[in-house]
Amino acid sequence: MIEPSLALYGDAYARVDAHIQDLLDVTGVRYGLLVDRKGFVLSHKEALWAPRPPALDSVATLVASNAAATAALANMLGERTFSEQIHQGENGTLYVESVGDQALLTLIFDASVPLGKVKVYARKTVAQLAAILEELKDIPEMQLNGDFSAGATALLDDLLG
């Protein structure tokens, strides 16, 4: 095993979703994502009024890479970590905060949404999400059987010839 997997199961997944949705409702944030440190989207919610989201795979990958680079910078500067990143543009803001050592809460919102308000509520959500991810550490890993490998290989043949 290369790195512990981060697997969200039914109830935990629903609770993560609910917390992110609550955060969106109370702050007016447009998109909220929980991204693992490897750059995979674990959960995604968007406001009802939000337009079609950007490519979430790419957003997650860049956010995780950026966080990794920022963490490396922190270490070089003698810090354990920099726990949040804020990128502000003319029309919008990208806010990223660490959820423990495993994940990143990523919020995208318009310039009309006050950053301070987002930060206050995001802290609360981060604590809730971190508690859920902590619970998951004790759940035994589910197994995929050989049929999975065979089925996936057949799809590979279709895709790559």
Binding site: D36, T61, A152
Partner: protein
Amino acid sequence: MSTINFAAREINCKIVYYGPGMSGKTTNLKQVFARVPGHLRGEMVSLATEDERTLFFDFLPLDLGSVQGFKTRFHLYTVPGQVFYNASRKLILRGVDGIVFVADSAPNRLRANAESMRNLRENLAEHGINVRDVPIVLQVNKRDLPDALPTSMIRAVIDPRGELQLFEAMSDKGVGVFETLKTVSRLVLERLSQTK
């Protein structure tokens, strides 16, 4: 290992193309992007310098489809090959599930191939990964060079025990690109099913 989201029923695997600078890692991804149907691939993200040398990484998501109800997806990355970008290479290896080592067939790149493989081993070790614990496929690229070295000579410096599956390629023409990707993907999927 792969990120498995049982609730969303998604499995994501990370494959990294590694190798010396200018060996053709980005070209491999560009060929995959060009030849895979649009609905099965996402956007290709390239963080490159002005002269198109990879600065941080290239990224291409690839959808395999649904297997036993799990949406299965590969995330393909390249690393920057230049020696001085090692911090970036190390970051990109985080959570890797499979590696394609792209070697250059040019005689004057033999040493660079060897150094890049050594660098890969060192960087994996810093992540606590034994090089034997991750599926690796060797692609010997630029086989159409007039002075291309014999593959046996290249393997001798990169993989002296002959443990890796080897594919000859001309990535700029798309030759060997899919074969390499298919093999490393299959190895990753087999590993996924065997996880204890």
